[in-house]
Symmetry: C2
Subunit: 356 residues, 2 copies
Amino acid sequence: MTDAQMTALAASTATAGEILSSHLTAQAGAFLRALPQAVGEVGARPGSVAASSAGTEDLLRAVRRIGGVLHTFAATFEPAWAQESRTELRWLLNLLAQEPGYVRRSARLLGALDTLSGAEPGSGLRGPGMLAGHAGAPKARALLDRQLTLARTRVHSSVLQELRSARLHALADRMTLLVGEVPLLAQADGRAAVVLLPQATAALAALGAGAERLPLHRAATPYGGDGMRRLGSVPAARGALDADALMAADDEPWHQVRILLKRARYALEVCARPAEGLDALDVTLALHQDAADAAAHAATAARTPRITPATAYVLGVVHADQRLEVEAARYAFGRQWPDISPSIDGWEEPPAPRMA
Amino acid sequence: MTDAQMTALAASTATAGEILSSHLTAQAGAFLRALPQAVGEVGARPGSVAASSAGTEDLLRAVRRIGGVLHTFAATFEPAWAQESRTELRWLLNLLAQEPGYVRRSARLLGALDTLSGAEPGSGLRGPGMLAGHAGAPKARALLDRQLTLARTRVHSSVLQELRSARLHALADRMTLLVGEVPLLAQADGRAAVVLLPQATAALAALGAGAERLPLHRAATPYGGDGMRRLGSVPAARGALDADALMAADDEPWHQVRILLKRARYALEVCARPAEGLDALDVTLALHQDAADAAAHAATAARTPRITPATAYVLGVVHADQRLEVEAARYAFGRQWPDISPSIDGWEEPPAPRMA
């Protein structure tokens, strides 16, 4: 958000439409600038980790913000256009997130294995871990590395294909049009403070409600076993139990809160409000999500046919280690949350006289 | 300690020999009363968990206290007698501790498995854990149960044999003599406050020094990975790494502190000083030791030939789960320690005039 925009909202003379248009135009411009670079980056790394992914990151940044703003301030936009745009942006987001996701998962799992087995390079300060010298550690590492590289290569090809698709061109056209004009409804003519505040407030309230539904009491004391020894309070229906599904169900509310958190952040950006506290929470929930993904991957890898018991044992340790990181993230979130529970008290300006 | 003893020490008119004799006579009496019952209890459980082990517990209680007092106040006793007595008491302690150790280890490991797999009986309040429905869980449970039952049965037979040995009869005779007279040196004639205080102080100082050598900074924040991801600060000498040995070396200082803690407790009992804070620390370190033992057992069980990868995977999870309990105990100890760092400030009475 530019200084001009901040001044505009503070003075409350700008209309909601002006604020939103200015914001979306800037983000759509960022989208269009980043797109060719991102496509080039994906094309330039045939199976190897990207040397630079600045373009992809910029693109994802713009995609998330436009999608979030279209969701939070939905009442201000032409509904069909906003809905279609969000669908297409989500498609691109999921598409582009896949490969970096595998890169992160690989770094996390192999890093955990190296730490646990004490083979961490340059580990002058750290001692070895509880898998030091274990025969299964190199085998498990090779297995994970092979599987994750294969998965990433496969995803890479499909992403490359989609980046040349008519669907992406149509989305780029849509963003080009957005730079020219944002399809607003009549109520966008209202003053920014009057129109935008209730919608931003709703986004923050949704975040607050989502966080309140989290079982924070289960993660209130360290080493309480949340997400490891206790997955939800599902009554143990014998026979219907499946650890993978249960863990996914246990993690889901936390993933949901992360989405609500991002929406709240982007809403605050539109309104030129600081969101540092939310940034810190986002970092914690990103860690939660990455650890949950990595744990699930280790569990799946342990079901690979014909692995040795030693390999499976190491994968069991890694699985538990990553679920421990999930638990640690929940504990950290519970410690951060009460301090930075978002409030919009400071925003409340007297409603502008209707006939002014 | 009787009221009479407490009054005696408080008034500082009793000699050190009187206090120690009174204490040791009482403990030796407890030893002799508990011995037949304990022998009967061991004999009455051919391979099954003891219905009652009150006699064994009383016996162990007396054995630990006599041994601890002979160590702490060694300067007051006839040295050869005290040394021999301690050796024999340690032999009986190790002998009697074996079977209960297996019972505890079994309860801990099978309990952890049941919790992790959500099969905990009557677990209305708890959800299932991260091994819910895992194919390897029943197999790993059966393996652990079989191995631990076998180990316990084997130990049981050898304990039964030793309890009928001439060595035990000699120790019982030694305790009978102790009820009659404690072999004291001349300095035991000094006033209790003057003679006993420096030795009890030394026991507390040894505990303080032991605790100070613990890497408490590594366990200062929860989820720091102490004892899991970091085993000591041993420089990673490649090729010489063995996780089991490293973990044992990492745990050893904590086990040592537990011994120092018990000695300090028994010294405080002799001096009729409260030791509640030390009791709480002992509970934490007992948990640390049991979890470390259980983790080591799970790691060993995973090396059983011809187990399935699913079984090995579950044992890996259980191993990590128990190392997490080790880490949690260290964190808890670090939180408890500074508050109850034992002080004997309150003990300092003016030394009695030498010629009085």
